[in-house]
Amino acid sequence: MSTVAGNGEAAPVLELRGVTVRFGSVPALSRVSLSLRAGEVTAVLGENGSGKSTLVAVVSGVQRPAEGELLLDGQPVRFRSPQQARARGIATVWQDLAIAPLMSVWRNFFLGAEPTRGLWPFRRLDVGRAEEIATRAMARVGVPGLDPSQPASALQAGERQSLAVARALHFGARVLVVDEPTAPMTVTQRALVLQSVVAARDSGLAVLFVTHSPQYAHLVGDRFVLLGGGRVAGDLTREDVDVDDLTRLVAGGDELSRLTDSLRVAHPDR
């Protein structure tokens, strides 16, 4: 049920209008606007310090913007906590995966939103149901037959990634925010992230995919928002750019070509 990319008519699920965030007097984001549509992957690209992480913090309710507003289904919303954003259907896969290694898989899966039964003061975790749901959700993202009571540290690296994605998919029915790790990943690990992004898009979620790699962004993205110095430096669709354009635009392309030019002047024979 993937919607056609660049379908401008579809109303955005989540919209940012003129969002500004300051840390002290330094603006981390200034007047950023973007829209996320159902069944569409919006890739946010930028170098370290361009405001990507702050953008994720705003969308997921960790950071409140100083100016501007968030609109969910056209209605202005203010998230006071990540829990509120989660309750409204915005799920986030954090850069560090937000996994407690010494806790079991199902405890990690439900962390902060554990199912309970019984009445206070006898309200307790519904362990059976939690284990069952966690197992099923992990199978959905491609890790079947997992023992949900083993510690998360016993998972292999790719499975841990899947746990974070499965958690986000399970709790975020509408918007998925994937903040890609800056640490080096193997191709297999990356493939798991990209596959989960695609899975989310295909189940009709609006996906915000934050990355610093134009190649990977171009593999899954429908739209590309370039961040630079906390501002939107470009808002492009798949029709506008190919991988090379995107790479040049993101990776300080202008500086690189200037460097190439000056090298050519210095060594004209090359």
């Binding site: 407690a100 902060g112 199978a139 083993q150 640490a183 990209l194």
Partner: protein, 360 residues
């Protein structure tokens, strides 16, 4: 041209599950399962230390000796359980021992100097203890200072204040003569009752200890609060990002250790009919020692209150065993240090085994 990976302008095909990873060997699974139970090591410790001293001093197995062991272990276990919860949440509390002394001093002074009944006095001192806990917790949460230092400061303030306060108000560091005041008999029934079994006199503190252990174990493993405790210590940033109330949990745990301190103080107060303000450093450390012997990691995120209770039991068996075996009681401290070292090494193994999660 950065293009080390196979690139295409086509989008990825629709999602399909990856092949399941190779199943882990059953032996490793069993090890993982055992490591997920922090109290296993402490249980082994109880058995081996008990066996060792039963050989050294056969009198250790009498009911009189058992009563002494449980009597030593109970207050230590109550404090150890509360400290274990804090350690799991990644925090320290050095002030619990001095809270015990200070709150029982407040009770005693209110009864002897202000003429209050024992129950109102206990209520006021509980309030005072909780206030200290709240100050500790709020300072740690709002300033982000290490709780070790914050509670060290609290410890010093309370230690000095109780010594000076006792001297100024009662003229001595020993406040006695509480027995027989209004409500004393009912207070004695709740905090000082005993039961004679054989030649052993078992005290009600044992019951309080068991209740505290059972209640906190249930909380830790079977409630959302317990999950928040584990997450606060194991992955504080992740917990905050996921909306786990880390700050509230931390403050509640500091209230818990303060209440445990008050309970320890009250049990002693009712037993002795008074309070002796003693400038002894060391009982603060004991609660942490007991929790660590019980398998809690100092770095947080791992531990159990059953383990802490077993740690208190090991402590008590060693103490009573050394005295029954006729050794110089000063050996006890060396023995305790040895136990702590073994526990720390074992915990280090557990941590290396369990904590290897790459950040990507």
């Amino acid at each position: 041209m950065p293009g080390a990976l196979p690139m295409s302008t086509d989008r990825l095909p629709a999602f399909r599950p990856v092949t399941p990873a190779a199943p882990r060997s059953p032996g490793r699974r069993l090890l993982d399962r055992l490591l997920a139970r922090p109290s296993v090591g402490a249980l082994l410790g109880v058995v081996s230390v008990g066996f060792f001293f039963a050989l050294q001093a056969p009198g250790l197995l009498s009911s009189g000796s058992l009563a002494t062991i449980l009597d030593i272990a109970a207050p230590l276990g109550i404090g150890g359980v509360a400290v274990a919860l804090l350690l799991v949440a990644g925090q320290f509390d050095l002030s619990i021992g001095v809270v015990a002394v200070t709150s029982s001093l407040v009770t005693a002074l209110l009864v002897t100097q202000a003429g209050l009944g024992i129950w109102p006095a206990l209520l006021v001192s509980l309030g005072a203890a909780l206030l200290i806990g709240a100050v500790n917790g709020l300072l740690v949460v709002t300033t982000g200072l290490p709780s070790f230092l914050v509670t060290l400061a609290t410890f010093l303030v309370l230690q000095g204040a109780s010594l000076a306060g006792a001297a100024a108000l009662a003229g001595t560091s020993r406040v006695t003569g509480l027995a027989g005041t209004a409500g004393w008999s009912s207070a004695e029934a709740v905090f000082g009752a005993t039961a004679q079994l054989g030649d052993g006199r078992f005290r009600i503190s044992l019951l309080w200890w068991l209740v505290a252990t059972a209640l906190t174990t249930w909380q830790l493993w079977r409630t959302r609060f317990g999950n928040a405790v584990f997450a606060s210590g194991g992955a504080p940033r992740a917990a905050r990002e996921l909306g786990v109330p880390v700050a509230r949990t931390t403050v509640l745990l500091f209230l818990g250790t303060a209440a445990a301190g008050w309970l320890i103080g009250t049990l002693g107060l009712v037993r002795l009919g008074g309070v002796q303000v003693d400038p002894v450093l060391g009982s603060e450390i004991e609660f942490i020692v007991v929790a660590v012997i019980g398998g809690c990691l100092l770095t947080g995120g791992y531990g159990s209150t059953v383990g802490a209770s077993l740690g208190a039991l090991i402590y008590a068996i060693a103490r009573e065993g050394i005295s029954r075996a006729g050794w110089d009681p000063r050996w006890f401290q060396a023995f305790l240090g040895l136990l702590l070292m073994v526990a720390l090494l074992a915990n280090g193994v557990v941590r290396r085994r369990l904590r290897t999660v790459p950040r990507s």
